[in-house]
C-alpha cells in the first residue's frame, strides 16, 4: 500500500522536524511532547516497514490490476473530493477575513452547490443552475443572519472591510 508508505514517511519526517523544535524548551515543557514525538516516529517507521513488507510479498496479476485501479481511484478522490472543496473552503476563509462572514458564506454555498451539481453530471452546468445556486446562497445566508445575528445575537466574524 503506497498510501501507508507515504503516511509512514510523512509521520517520521514531521516527528523529526517537530522534535528539533523542542530542544530549546525548558525540560519540563519538552518532556511530554518529546515522548509523543518518539512514539510517532516509531509508528512512522513501523508503517514504512509494514508497507515495504506487503510490497515485497508481491501481488498476483489480478490483484495488481485491482491495485492500480484502487490507486487511480484514490488519486481521483484526492483531487475532486479533497483538494477542490478544501480549496473552496480556504478561499471562503480568505473572504471571511476580508469581507466578513455573511458574504463568505454566500460564496461558499454558491460554489459548493454548483460544484456538487457539476460533479453529479457536468451537463447540469447551465444558466438555470446558476440561478438556483444564487437563490439558495442568498436564502441560506439570510437564514443564518436571522438566526445567529438577529435572534441569538451571536457575534459573527467581521472582515477587514466591513
Amino acid at each position: 500500500m503506497i498510501s501507508n508508505l507515504i503516511l509512514g514517511v510523512v509521520t517520521l519526517l514531521s516527528s523529526v522536524f517537530f522534535y528539533r523544535q523542542t530542544t530549546d524548551l525548558p525540560e519540563r515543557s519538552a518532556l511530554f511532547p518529546q515522548f509523543v514525538l518518539w512514539g510517532l516516529a516509531i509508528v512512522g517507521v513501523l508503517l514504512i516497514f509494514q508497507a515495504l513488507l506487503a510490497g515485497r510479498k508481491g501481488v498476483g496479476e489480478n490483484e495488481f490490476e485491482a491495485h492500480l485501479e484502487a490507486r487511480a481511484k484514490l488519486k481521483e478522490t484526492l483531487f475532486f473530493q479533497v483538494i477542490i472543496p478544501g480549496g473552496l473552503l480556504l478561499i471562503a476563509y480568505g473572504l471571511l477575513l476580508t469581507v466578513g462572514f455573511y458574504l463568505a458564506s454566500a460564496f461558499l454555498v454558491f460554489t459548493v452547490y454548483s460544484y456538487h451539481t457539476y460533479r453529479i453530471d457536468a451537463g447540469n452546468l447551465n444558466r438555470a443552475l446558476w440561478g438556483r445556486a444564487a437563490i439558495f446562497a442568498v436564502v441560506i445566508t439570510l437564514f443564518m443572519y436571522l438566526i445567529f445575528t438577529l435572534l441569538l445575537g451571536l457575534p459573527a466574524p467581521s472582515g477587514a472591510l466591513f
Binding site: 503516511l7 517537530f18 515543557s29 473530493q81 476563509y93 458564506s105 452547490y113 456538487h116 460533479r119
Partner: protein, 501 residues
C-alpha cells in the same frame, strides 16, 4: 420549606414552560455542528438575571440536557456529530441510516438518553454529598491513571492497530501545541498568536467529522448514500429491546455518572468508555461500526447521565465539573447563591427545586425527541447538494463561535482536509479526538505528580501509588489492557475463520 411543597412548586405552568423552552433550545444548538450546550447556555445567561434563581437554573439545566441529546440527531442522519460526545453515536447510527433504519436509530438514541438522563439525575438527587467527597479524592495520580485508561479504549475500536496508534499520538501531539500551562513557554507556535491559545477540541471535531464528511459527500447523487424510508417501528419495541440488553443501559448510565464526576474529561471519556464496554459485551451478531444499536444505547445513556453527575461537584462544593456547569455556576453567583455544603441548608428551595426540576428536563427531552423524530428524519428527503453547503457554512460559524476565534475556523478547515485524506486511507478519526482530550490531562497531572513527589522527597512511583484509589485505578488500567488484547485476538480469529469458511 419541606420537600412536598417544593415539589408542588415545581408543578406550575411557568416551570414547565421554562423547562421545555430550555430543552428545545438545547436540542437545536446541540444539533447544529459546532454549537453545543455551553454556547446555548452562555447565550441565554443574561435572560436568567431577571428570573427567580431556581427558574433560571432550570432553563440552563434544560439546555444542558437537550444539548447532550441534540448532537446525536445530525450524527445519526448525516454522519455529522454536533459535538464530541455524539461521535460514537455517528459510528453506529449512520450505518443504520444507510440501511434505511434511521428512525429506529433515533428511537434508540432518545430512549437511551432518557434512561441515562434519569440515572444521572436520580443519583444527583440521592447521593450528591458522598459522590462529591469521592470526586475530591482524584488527585494528580488518580487523574493520570484515569486518563491512561481512556487511551487504552482506542485499542478497542476496530481497524489497523498501527493506524489507531498513529491517530491517538497525533491527537496527543496536537494537545501540546500552544502556551504550556505549567511553564508558560510556547510550544510549536511558530510565532503565531493563534497557535498560542492552543488547538481546542471543537474545531478539530468539526474539521474531522463535519468538513471531511461533507467533502466526501460532494457529487453524491440523491439516494446514492442514504435513502429515506418511512419505517414503521413502534416506540415500545425499541424501549423493550433496550431493556432486554441485560444491564447495558444501566451500566452505561452508571459509567457516565461516575466518570462524569471527574472535572475536565468527564463526558468525552465516559461516552467512549461505555461505548468500548458495549462492544465487549454486546450479544448481537452485528459487528460494531456497522450499525449495532448497543453502541448507541451505551454512548447515549452515558452522555446524558453525565449531565446530572457533572453538577455534583458544583452543587456540593461549588467546583464546576464541566465547562457547561462552570457557566451555570456563574449564573448562580450572580443571584448571590453560595454553592457548597451550605447550599442545602441556606437555600433548600433553590437546591431542591433545581434537583427535582432536572427530572422534568429529562421528561421534556423525551417528549420532544419522541414526537420530533418523525420530522427530524425528513432531513433525509433533502437532496445532498442542499445539505452539503448548508452544513459547511453552519460549521464554519460554529468553529468561530466557541472562542470567537477566526483562527479556530482555519484549524477546522485544515483538519477537514486532513480528515478527508485520513478517511480515504483508513486512519480512524475518533482516536485523534481521544488523544487531544486526554493529552493535556495526562501531561499536566504527571507534571503535578512529579512536582509534588519532589517536594515530599519520595520517588514518583511511590507518590503515584500512594492511595488505595490509585492502586485500584492501576489495576483497572491493567485489566482494560488485557480485555482489549483479548478482544483484538478474538476479532483476528473470527476474521480468519470468515476468510477460510
Amino acid at each position: 420549606m419541606d420537600i412536598v411543597s417544593i415539589l408542588l412548586n415545581l408543578l406550575t405552568p411557568s416551570v414547565f414552560l421554562v423547562v421545555f423552552a430550555g430543552v428545545l433550545v438545547g436540542i437545536v444548538v446541540g444539533a447544529i455542528p459546532g454549537l453545543n450546550g455551553a454556547i446555548g447556555i452562555s447565550l441565554l445567561l443574561p435572560l436568567t438575571f431577571t428570573m427567580e434563581p431556581q427558574i433560571g437554573l432550570l432553563l440552563l439545566g434544560g439546555i444542558y440536557m437537550g444539548g447532550m441529546y441534540g448532537g446525536s440527531i445530525t450524527a445519526i442522519l448525516i454522519n455529522v456529530p454536533g459535538d464530541v460526545v455524539a461521535a460514537p453515536v455517528a459510528m453506529e447510527g449512520y450505518p443504520l441510516t444507510k440501511q434505511g433504519r434511521s428512525k429506529e436509530a433515533l428511537y434508540y438514541s432518545i430512549f437511551s438518553s432518557m434512561f441515562g438522563g434519569f440515572i444521572g439525575v436520580l443519583i444527583l438527587i440521592l447521593f450528591t454529598p458522598p459522590l462529591a467527597r469521592f470526586a475530591l479524592q482524584f488527585g494528580p495520580a488518580e487523574m493520570f491513571f484515569v486518563s491512561l485508561s481512556g487511551l487504552i479504549i482506542v485499542g478497542a475500536l476496530s481497524g489497523s492497530i498501527l493506524k489507531a496508534a498513529f491517530a491517538v499520538l497525533l491527537g496527543l501531539f496536537i494537545s501540546t501545541v500552544g502556551v504550556d500551562l505549567i511553564t508558560g513557554s510556547e510550544r510549536f507556535t511558530f510565532d503565531s498568536i493563534g497557535l498560542r491559545a492552543g488547538i481546542s477540541v471543537v474545531p478539530v471535531v468539526l474539521g474531522l467529522f463535519c468538513f471531511a464528511e461533507m467533502f466526501l459527500n460532494i457529487g453524491k447523487k440523491p439516494g446514492e448514500q442514504v435513502q429515506y424510508r418511512d419505517q414503521k417501528i413502534a416506540r415500545m419495541t425499541v424501549i423493550k429491546d433496550i431493556l432486554r440488553q441485560r444491564f447495558l443501559v444501566w451500566k452505561s448510565g452508571l459509567i457516565g455518572t461516575l466518570v462524569g464526576l471527574l472535572p475536565g474529561v468527564g463526558t468525552t471519556l465516559a461516552v467512549f468508555m461505555s461505548y468500548g464496554d458495549a462492544k465487549r459485551v454486546s450479544r448481537r451478531d452485528i459487528p460494531f461500526e456497522q450499525g449495532n444499536p448497543d453502541g448507541i444505547i451505551a454512548a447515549e445513556s452515558a452522555n446524558n447521565a453525565t449531565v446530572g453527575s457533572s453538577m455534583v461537584p458544583l452543587l456540593a462544593l461549588g467546583v464546576p465539573g464541566s465547562p457547561t456547569s462552570a457557566i451555570i455556576a456563574g449564573a448562580l453567583v450572580i443571584h448571590g447563591i453560595v454553592l457548597g455544603p451550605s447550599l442545602f441548608v441556606n437555600r433548600p428551595d433553590v437546591a431542591f427545586t433545581f434537583l427535582y426540576g432536572m427530572l422534568l428536563t429529562v421528561v421534556a427531552m423525551t417528549i420532544i425527541g419522541a414526537v420530533g423524530i418523525k420530522y427530524f428524519s425528513y432531513i433525509l428527503k433533502i437532496k445532498m447538494e442542499y445539505i452539503v453547503p448548508t452544513v459547511l457554512v453552519f460549521a464554519l460559524f460554529g468553529a468561530y463561535s466557541l472562542r470567537n476565534s477566526l483562527f479556530d475556523v482555519f484549524i477546522a478547515i485544515v483538519l477537514g482536509i486532513a480528515g478527508a485524506i485520513f478517511k480515504k486511507i483508513q486512519v480512524p478519526l475518533a482516536p485523534i479526538i481521544i488523544g487531544l482530550v486526554l493529552g493535556g490531562l495526562i501531561e499536566t497531572n504527571l507534571a503535578r505528580a512529579m512536582r509534588i513527589a519532589g517536594a515530599r522527597n519520595m520517588p514518583l512511583w511511590e507518590y503515584l501509588l500512594a492511595t488505595p484509589l490509585s492502586k485500584g485505578l492501576v489495576a483497572l488500567v491493567v485489566i482494560m489492557l488485557l480485555v482489549v488484547i483479548r478482544m483484538r485476538h478474538k476479532e483476528k480469529v473470527a476474521a480468519k475463520e470468515a476468510k477460510n469458511g
